[in-house]
């Protein structure tokens, strides 16, 4: 492997700003890596070699003109549900298979303005609905640590690209765990900021009250760097938060002294088997050894998270995906009249999981069931937010598993509900809009595969969250204890 591709984003930016390597050289090294490994891994649905080299050249010109850029020459993998002008943007769906984005998502634009170089558009579960990338209609992505296993999802392409050194920053979106779970499966950091911290403008909508863009990176420092660039109010997303963003990059800590970290008593890791139970108990002990005080907290509603989520998210998706009707963009299948054209287009364009969720959502919102299902779930969401507020009266952060198991084999989750269970530990935080991340915390199973520790902070406390995760990462260095298989 060409050495530059293994550098962190922070290191690349320092090197390119310091002119010890040009953005062009850096980009060429990464593109070569993509050509070498991605036919086997399938991270990218679209490779953007030409655009990447153009962007790199622009970065080099800006550096030559005396500018200093926080992401100078940093190779970035963009999840294919984010728009980038002139590039195919598919959401891994047949209905958008040939759609060319006419504008660029705000989060992506901020990355480019800061000197980031887009390497390609990455695979995902169709419309971000899934936990393994197996729901992609356009390709298979493999876990770089074990090619017979899934990379996680829905941001599995971005996670696998970063883990396999085909990018230093992967952009993902997280609705119920879609950044944190693939981060855990691929032995990297997956960070979902507070709902509304990063603009959703240009992100193809799944469940608008939950969707949030965030970075997948090999280090916490890089996650902080990407967050500092992307976060902040955007008038084009009326749900983006209009308050100052405190930079996280210069608040990274080396210890956890003075912090209280809560362990949720309803999250009984013994249910995950003795090996995983021991792994998380060790992680909590490691947090204590770094100076944190570990306290018990309670989330009485924990067991209701999946039910709440699998009403709210499908309801919102059934509404959001109504726009795919064969009229203005995407696939059209002709019919005798406009109604038949809609029905045939959507039947041919959407995969099973997307249809299933649209049907659930349509049912939950339909006359006679709206109060029993949708309104009930919206009330449960209030209870989640309240439970977390109460828990955070006793602690600064909450520690929990990021997923219930390491990466699983393809086609091993046959019924939809067993796949939904993968998100048991990440959904409650999403329902409460909280910032949360997963950081590598060891290995489990046969063969030994990566696991992630999930840390969660109160709303807007990203700086505290990233600072603490940095201390854990520095002290344990679990990610460095295994190597990718490619």
């Amino acid at each position: 492997m060409n050495e530059p591709v293994t550098r962190s984003a922070a290191q690349i930016a320092r090197d390119v700003n310091g002119k010890s390597i040009s953005a062009r050289e850096m980009t060429q090294a990464v593109l070569q890596r993509v050509d070498e490994v991605d036919d086997r891994l399938g991270c990218y649905l679209t490779r953007l070699h030409e655009l990447a080299l153009d962007c790199a050249q622009r970065v080099d010109r800006r550096i030559a003109a005396g500018e200093s850029l926080s992401l100078a020459g940093v190779p970035v993998a963009v999840k294919d549900n984010m728009c980038l002008t002139g590039t195919r943007t598919t959401a891994a769906s047949k209905i958008l298979e040939n759609w060319i984005a006419p504008y660029t998502a705000t989060a992506v634009q901020r990355i480019l303005d800061a000197g980031g170089v887009p390497i390609g558009k990455t695979n995902l579960d169709e419309f971000a609905m899934g936990s393994s990338c197996e729901n992609s209609a356009l390709g298979v992505t493999r876990n770089p640590y074990d090619l017979s296993r899934v990379p996680g999802g829905s941001s599995g392409g971005s996670a696998a690209a970063v883990a396999s050194f085909q990018a230093a920053i992967g952009l993902g979106s997280d609705t119920g765990g879609s950044i944190r779970e693939p981060g855990a499966f691929c032995n990297i950091v997956g960070f979902k900021p507070t709902y509304g911290r990063v603009s959703r403008y240009g992100l193809i909508a799944f469940a608008s009250s939950l969707d949030q863009i965030g970075p997948l990176t090999r280090t916490i420092e890089d996650a902080a760097l990407a967050y500092d660039v992307m976060a902040g109010h955007d008038p084009r997303d009326s749900t983006s938060i209009n308050r100052a963003v405190e930079p996280a990059s210069n608040a990274l800590r080396e210890d956890l002294k003075g912090l209280r970290i809560g362990v949720v008593k309803e999250f009984v890791t013994a249910k995950l088997g003795p090996e995983i139970d021991a792994l998380y108990k060790r992680a909590y002990r490691e947090l204590a050894e770094l100076g944190a005080e570990i306290v018990d907290v309670s989330l009485p509603t924990a067991d209701y998270g999946l039910a709440t989520y699998y009403l709210i998210a499908p309801a919102e998706c059934s509404s959001n995906l109504a726009r795919f009707d064969g009229v203005r963009y995407g696939l059209r299948v002709e019919g005798d009249d406009v109604g038949q054209m809609y029905e045939r287009t959507r039947a041919a364009g959407f995969g099973s999981e997307v249809k299933r969720r649209i049907l659930i959502g349509t049912y939950a919102l339909s006359s006679g069931y709206y109060d029993a299902y949708y309104v009930k779930a919206q009330k449960a969401r209030t209870m989640f937010a309240q439970d977390f507020r109460t828990a955070f009266e006793r602690c600064d952060l909450i520690a929990a598993p990021a997923a219930s198991s390491p990466a699983f084999e393809f086609n091993s989750k046959s019924d939809p509900y067993s796949m939904y269970m993968m998100d048991y530990y990440t959904i409650p935080m999403s329902l409460a809009g909280l910032p949360a991340l997963s950081v590598p915390c060891g290995y489990a199973g046969t063969p030994q595969l990566p696991m992630g520790l999930q840390l969660t902070a109160p709303l807007f406390e990203e700086v505290k969250l990233l600072g603490a995760a940095h201390a854990y990462e520095r002290a344990t260095k679990y990610a460095s204890k295994a190597a990718v298989a490619v």
């Binding site: 209701y304 009229v327 249809k355 209030t382």
Partner: protein, 97 residues
């Protein structure tokens, strides 16, 4: 909560998705299974709990009514499955009498 049998064809009609026979059977069963799982929510006492649409600073956002640049018409129409001049072309909506 409701426990009656779901008319999956009616739901699919509302959602504008044509279903094959096989899909109607499979989705019908999966929907029923999922609704059984979500029915655990009925255990939560929510009579006095307000509903939350989104958790962070929900407020109405307004902007001044000013003309700003928008997407170029040609760029947008170039992505249309069918167009006629400056319009999206669709199948007939009003039947001939």
């Amino acid at each position: 909560m409701a426990s009656e049998k779901i008319d999956v064809r009616y739901v699919a009609k509302l959602a504008r998705i044509a279903l094959s026979e096989e899909e109607a059977v499979r989705f019908g069963k999966q929907l029923a299974d999922l609704l059984e799982h979500v029915n655990v929510l009925s255990e939560l006492e929510t009579a006095s709990v307000p509903a939350t649409a989104q958790v962070v600073e929900s407020r109405n956002v307004e902007r001044s009514d000013e003309v700003t640049p928008c997407l170029d018409r040609e760029t947008v129409l170039a992505m249309a499955p069918q167009r006629q001049g400056a319009f999206f072309r669709v199948p007939k909506i009003i039947p001939e009498s």
